[in-house]
Amino acid sequence: MTITLDLIGENKKIKVVSISGGWGIRQRLGCLGIHPGDIITVKRSAIMRGPILISIHGNQVALGRGVARKVVVEAE
């Protein structure tokens, strides 16, 4: 089952299925190593619908809630 990244709880490991945003967001996420098929760990979720912190290929990236909503994932 696929859901979007913003709904994933802390300390969960998931796999990226696709990125539903336009060209710009696809490219920018790609630059940080986030492509379909990659494994992401959600490390933290900020309060007040703030950003989420993920770990990808040994690196930490903060994604705003709106950005995370565009990343379609499935549980590992």
């Binding site: 490219q27 630059c31 940080l32 912190l53 040994g58 990236v61």
Partner: protein
């Protein structure tokens, strides 16, 4: 020979650059601090070398202004050698840029920076093998400690002399089957020569839908663009994804494969610093720590500043009566000399004591890597004023100086966000205004009152942000920000950075201050200051300020701290409390914080957001200053 440093953000290009140039480029532990390129010249083997530090860029498909700047420089410039600086602890991701750089067919060297950090993380890299894969030399280094830099530059020099170009790494067969015919088509139209870049690179950029290359040449060769659409479709149909995703996924897989073939993983060493985020980014403790850090920081500045200001000021003000004993106090000479002494005293005794601890503390926080954490914590709040978390970086830099803060808005993706952030950044009390808050309000009223000014200032910025984002309703693109690992700050680097930023005050503001003080003395001597003061009397009387404040406000546009120092001179005593009431001190400070940005800020605003918007910012801040100061007069 011209050597360019190119690499992903926060890979240590500026640190490397500073090792050669002396501390010229500001380094910090957050991605995207370099927004313009910096040049330096040095000698290597008797040859003059020109070294360029370019802004970091994740890929050669660029999004923000700083990245675009780097790419433009590389494509148009006459670069002889590219040093691709890589953060070795992030090797797999960094190789995606390396693959693109190879497509440019420029002589290249790879620098595996922070190799010690990679080993700490358990990543051991086979350097020879990596060099073999790409066909370019690979030099491991630790730029912050100066390790491997000599070897790097002598390698770069040799590569430049031989014009040695690396291998082009091929994609999978079906993708190559599209790239090759498209490259041939491009070569036919000779469009590659207009860009002066290899046709294969251009073919890839077109398949990736890079807007820069598409928009600039769409009109000139319509047929080619039909071809491009055709080839994009082949990829899309075969892979079930847009062609840009196909290319970037291909590159990603290539990088991963290369990474796996050259790296052997061992057990990582985890140190205490890795656990800091459990507190600093915690949903509750994170905010407590943030408040605490800034509260301590505030007290540190005030503590150090006050300790130094009092005795120094007393010492300088003993000099003037002494001068009166040897020169008649009614003469022109006396006016000039006492003006100069006051200018000198203002710089040493009033500004520097607060400026130094502030800049030093900021340098430590920056190098530690705390700024991106603040962006994470405050993203939700910044969305309320129509921006996103990354905007906090220009804002924090704004507490140092507004000019680099406005430059730093280049890290924001949308034009509207840059405009709002620039206008708001001008309202943040920079170090110059900070010295006014500390030396007037904290010194004569109380440190609590100064803290209140800072808090009120933030509230005003939030309200202004709400107004601006309401006027320009557009959804901010959302934050995508790398949170780098913490680095233990080097005291030496922090001092060098503090010095670099203080130089601006010492060599630009201070001479201006001495000249300004002397001019004011002359104005007073010839009684022309009263003319200016009368001109400003409608404003000053509305605000309930002494008449003499009028002249000082003009000086304040040159440099904000001038208005305070001139004020001390204009009222003729260093003990302001004897002449001005606390209400007047508050009103004056509030007005000076917000009214018209200084000349340097106006200049940089003009360049970054254009003339119309700059005039808007000037008018907006003036009206705001007037309203707030009037309120202060009657409320405080």
């Amino acid at each position: 020979m011209k050597i360019a440093l190119m690499g992903q953000p926060n890979s240590g290009k500026s640190t490397l650059f500073n090792h050669v140039a002396g501390y010229k480029a500001v380094t910090s532990n957050f991605p995207g601090k370099t927004v313009e390129y910096t040049l330096t010249k040095f000698n290597l083997f008797g040859q003059a070398i020109e070294l360029v530090d370019l802004p970091g860029t994740y890929s050669l498909t660029s999004f923000d202004l700083a990245e675009l700047e780097a790419r433009k420089y590389l494509l148009n410039g006459d670069v002889d050698v590219v040093i691709n600086v890589i953060d070795a602890s992030l090797l797999s991701r960094s190789l995606e840029l390396t693959l693109q750089l190879l497509e440019l067919k420029l002589p290249m060297v790879i620098c595996l920076n922070m190799i010690d950090e990679a080993e700490r993380k358990g990543i051991r890299i086979n350097v020879e093998k990596l060099s073999e894969v790409f066909g370019v030399p690979v030099v491991p280094a630790v730029a912050i400690k100066g390790k491997g830099i000599k070897g790097l530059f002598s390698t770069a020099y040799r590569v430049g002399e031989k014009k040695k170009i690396g291998k082009t790494i091929k994609f999978s067969k079906d993708v190559e089957n599209v790239i090759t015919p498209l490259s041939i088509q491009i070569k036919k139209t000779q469009i590659d020569q207009k860009f002066n870049i290899p046709e294969r690179f251009l073919a890839l950029k077109y398949l990736e839908n890079d807007s820069y290359f598409i928009e600039n040449y769409k009109k000139k060769s319509n047929d080619l663009f039909k071809e491009i659409g055709y080839f994009q479709n082949i990829l899309k149909e075969a892979h079930g994804r847009p062609s840009d995703v196909v290319i970037s996924s291909e590159r990603h897989h290539l990088s991963m494969n290369i990474y796996e073939s050259v790296v052997s993983l061992t057990k990582p060493h985890i140190s205490l610093i890795d656990y800091m985020d459990n507190i600093l980014m915690h949903p509750f403790l994170g905010y407590i720590s943030l408040g605490l850090i800034f509260y301590l920081f505030f007290n540190l500045i005030f503590g150090v500043g006050k300790m130094v200001e009092e005795p120094l000021l007393g010492y300088f003000y003993k000099l003037i009566p002494l001068l009166g004993e040897s020169i008649d106090s009614g003469t022109l000479l006396f006016s000039i000399i006492s003006g100069m002494i006051q200018g000198l005293a203002g710089g040493i005794a009033i500004v520097l004591p607060y400026l130094f601890p502030f800049l030093f503390g900021l340098a430590i926080l920056e190098d530690l890597g705390y700024l991106p954490r603040i962006a994470f914590l405050l993203d939700a709040f910044l969305h309320k004023i129509g921006l996103h978390g990354k905007a906090i970086i220009p804002f924090i830099l704004g507490y140092g100086c507004t000019v680099p803060a406005i430059m730093a808005t280049r890290i924001l993706e949308s034009k509207r966000d840059r405009f709002i952030a620039s206008v708001l950044a001008t309202m943040i009390p920079c170090a110059a205004r900070m010295t006014i808050i500390f030396a007037l309000v904290a010194f004569y009223i109380s440190p609590q009152a100064a803290l209140v000014i800072y808090i009120l200032n933030i509230i005003v910025i939030i309200i202004s942000g709400k107004i601006l984002s309401h006027l320009l309703p557009e959804i901010t693109p959302g934050m995508i920000l790398e949170i780098p690992a913490y680095h233990i700050p080097s005291i030496k680097v922090a001092f060098a950075k503090t010095w670099l930023r203080m130089k601006e005050f010492i060599f630009v503001a201070w001479p201006l201050l001495i000249v300004g003080s002397t001019i004011l003395s002359l104005l007073q001597y010839y009684k022309t200051d009263m003319f200016i003061n009368n001109l400003f009397s409608p404003l000053t009387s509305l605000l309930g300020l002494p008449l003499v404040v009028g002249t000082t406000l003009i000086f304040g546009v040159l440099r904000k701290e001038l208005s305070m120092l001139m004020l001390i001179q204009a009222i003729g005593t260093s003990n302001i409390a004897a002449v001005m009431s606390t209400t007047q001190i508050m009103t004056f400070t509030i007005f000076v914080i917000f009214y018209v940005p200084c000349v340097a800020t106006i200049a940089v605003l003009w360049r970054e957001i254009g003339s119309k918007r700059t005039l808007f910012a000037v008018a907006f801040t003036f009206v705001l200053a007037f309203v707030l100061a009037t309120i202060t007069r009657f409320v405080y």
